[in-house]
């Protein structure tokens, strides 16, 4: 598909936003300024951006415990994200959700999720809503390869197909379920081999190539909008950091050489080479994008650091919604 230079630069910038946001968050965690768990999305940027660039603002997505990238790609506010990660009142969840529950309902981002696979049935519910209302909005479920071994995934995939709902299943196959290689967790190598079992098409796409992800998702989304039902896109990708935290090399469960080989296929740098070779952008323009994002991240950190923690009264607020339709 023809992407304008402006669109391609926007995709580049979105990937850079994810990269720098995550690296900044990693540093803040390392220095003790950020509480809790941190599952960094670095390495997988092409998937979130390639997919979300194929979506409208009113399309829904559900995410995973590794969800910052999805929110950034859907247009999330870096300052509110950073504040949430620091547990501040100005954060997306008022400091009550943190990294694993970050969301923006106004952008159709129905939440990261701390339970592996649990977002998938929720995306099916959003897809049901779209069909129920006769809308052409779609719902995209992001999930990892390990999620497809969970019952919730199976139930949701089957139900979406049985009810013929506008849901696109995007599997980020990053080769590991936490610290266990996928090959120890399933006897098949490709999640798409499961798609036919539900009666939907499934395709493998290079998850390190933002344009490839985008093009495949565009078609899957177009089918869903036309009422042709669900499809599964499996993006082969890799997380550069550890399951949790900021370690890259020297972990016991995956060889350093493998990490280094995948880093050579860095989705941002390879895309930059293509932008330059294709005459879409100059190195200066690319550098300018990085500079802009660096400034945005610095501003986000400053905002978060200067924000207050929630008042004690916030503890019990928001458990229930007051009133109702009556």
């Amino acid at each position: 598909m023809e992407l304008t230079p402006a669109q391609q630069l926007a995709m580049h910038k979105s990937m850079v936003r994810i990269r720098l946001f995550e690296e900044a968050a990693g540093k803040l965690m390392e220095t003790g300024q950020m509480p809790g768990f941190l599952h960094l999305y670095v390495g997988q940027e092409a998937v979130a951006v390639g997919v979300c660039e194929a979506l409208r603002v009113d399309d829904y997505i559900t995410s995973t415990h590794r969800g910052h990238g999805h929110l950034v790609a859907k247009g999330g506010d870096l300052a509110k994200m950073m504040a949430e990660l620091m547990g501040k009142a100005t954060g997306y969840c008022g400091g009550k959700g943190g990294s694993m529950h970050i969301n923006d309902l106004s952008l159709g981002m129905l939440g990261a999720n701390g339970i592996v696979g649990a977002g998938v049935p929720i995306a099916v519910g959003a897809g049901f809503r779209n069909k129920y209302l006769g809308s052409d909005q779609v719902a995209v479920a992001f999930f990892g390869d390990a999620s497809t071994n969970i019952g919730a995934f199976h139930e949701a995939a089957n139900m979406a197909c049985a009810l013929h709902l506008p849901v696109v299943f995007v599997c980020e196959h990053n080769m590991y379920g936490e610290y266990t290689p996928t090959e120890k967790a399933m006897a098949i190598a490709d999640v798409v081999d499961r798609a036919a079992g539900y009666g939907m098409p499934g395709v493998i796409v290079d998850g390190m190539d933002v344009l490839a992800v985008h093009e495949a998702t565009l078609e899957a989304v177009a089918r869903a909008r036309r009422g042709e039902g669900p499809a599964l896109v499996e993006a082969k990708t890799y997380r550069f950091y550890n399951h949790h935290g900021i370690q890259t090399l020297g972990v016991k469960y995956r060889p350093d050489a493998e990490v280094i080989a995948w880093k050579e296929r860095d989705p941002i740098f390879t895309f930059e080479d293509r932008l330059v070779e294709g005459g879409v952008a100059s190195r200066d323009q690319i550098e300018e994008q990085w500079a802009q994002v660096r400034a945005d991240i610095a501003a986000a950190i400053e905002f978060a650091e200067n924000s207050p923690y929630p008042e004690p009264s916030a503890l019990l607020a928001g458990v229930y919604t007051a009133g109702g339709a009556k």
Binding site: G91, G94, G111, A126
Partner: protein, 331 residues
């Protein structure tokens, strides 16, 4: 009150049909709720009136059924999702407990989840250990959920209407032994507010707090005890979460003795919470320990010979009341 009578089950489907008529965003989804009208026929007539779009037969996939409800509710619809047997709620526990109940809070209060999870609980049909449980205590323990367990047709319709109109997830439990129980039910829409217990029989000597089918056993026990000269005040909690502690405490302050009776296993049952609330709020008014009646610490047996022993009845409630009354006043 109306002259018209409906069964407990009919009152339920009437509430759904009236609310679906009033709000196009209300729909039902679950196993067999469409064409068949539900395995207990509690959804009879919904699909014939509203069509397949709004009365959706789903696969047997409890997690996905609740997930469908969560996703649809958070994006603006008002789903009623059915789990058939209360025991099956455990299959969907993640979606109920970790998703539906917590989404709003985790999202900083932004999300709204107007959804009703309906299910059929209770023993008495020789349905054995996986189709007979009363698991309300599990869900009362979860912040973010509301739990309703009505005892009669009038309340079923009014409480269900409230549950549908409510902007929070509600677990609505029907007792499967009471589905055919008839009672007066007015035509047209009305609501019984959530979170309000009801004094269903006034008395001065002792209070029995109960809900669901056991509440009706409590009324029978009260009748028996009246013959013995004991005036029992009976309270139907109707909604377990949020708990109407005030109504219970006011009654206890009047009667000074209280028994909590429910069908669920006594150990760790919701009666323990009610008893604890009473001693916190009305300790100085108590003339006897709070009595508790519940099922023994065992799975529900299959054979009627044992199931009848298992399920607490009016006789056991009366026995517990007598024990509370037998306790002499100190000092």
């Amino acid at each position: 009150m109306s002259d018209r009578t409906l069964t407990y089950g009919q009152a339920f489907s009437e509430a759904i049909r009236l609310e679906m008529e009033a709000d196009p965003n209300v729909f039902i989804a679950g196993e067999d709720v469409g064409a068949h009208g539900g395995v207990f026929h509690t959804f009879d007539g919904v699909q014939s009136e509203f069509g397949e779009r709004r009365a959706v037969d789903t696969p047997i996939s409890e997690q996905a059924i609740i997930g469908l409800g969560v996703g649809a509710a958070v994006t603006g619809l008002r789903p009623i999702v059915d789990l058939m047997f209360m025991d099956f709620s455990l299959v969907a526990a993640d979606q109920i407990v970790n998703q539906a109940a917590k989404l709003k809070y985790m999202f900083g209060g932004e999300a709204k989840l107007p959804m009703v999870i309906t299910t059929h609980g209770g023993a008495g049909l020789s349905a054995a250990a996986q189709h007979s449980q009363s698991l309300e205590a599990l869900f009362c323990h979860i912040p973010g959920l509301q739990v309703v367990f009505p005892s009669n047709a009038y309340d079923v319709k009014g409480l269900m209407a409230s549950a549908i109109l409510e902007d929070n997830p509600v677990l609505f439990v029907l007792h499967k032994r009471m589905l055919g129980l008839k009672g007066p039910v007015p035509e047209g829409r009305y609501t019984v507010p959530l979170g309000q217990a009801m004094v269903t029989r006034e008395g001065s000597d002792v209070t029995v707090v109960s809900w669901g089918r056991t509440h009706n056993e409590a009324l029978a026990a009260a009748e028996t005890l009246a013959g013995e000269g004991v005036q029992v005040e009976v309270i139907d909690l109707r909604t377990l979460s949020p708990l109407d502690t005030a109504t219970v405490v006011a009654s206890v302050k009047k009667t000074n003795r209280v028994v909590v009776a429910h069908e669920a296993v006594r150990f760790g049952g919701f009666g323990a919470e009610v008893a604890a609330q009473i001693q916190e709020e009305a300790f100085d008014y108590l003339d006897a320990p709070v009595g508790r009646v519940g099922a023994p610490f065992s799975p529900v047996p299959f054979t009627p010979a044992l199931e009848n022993l298992y399920v607490p009845d009016a006789a056991r409630i009366a026995e517990s009341v007598r024990a509370a009354l037998a306790r002499p006043l100190l000092g």
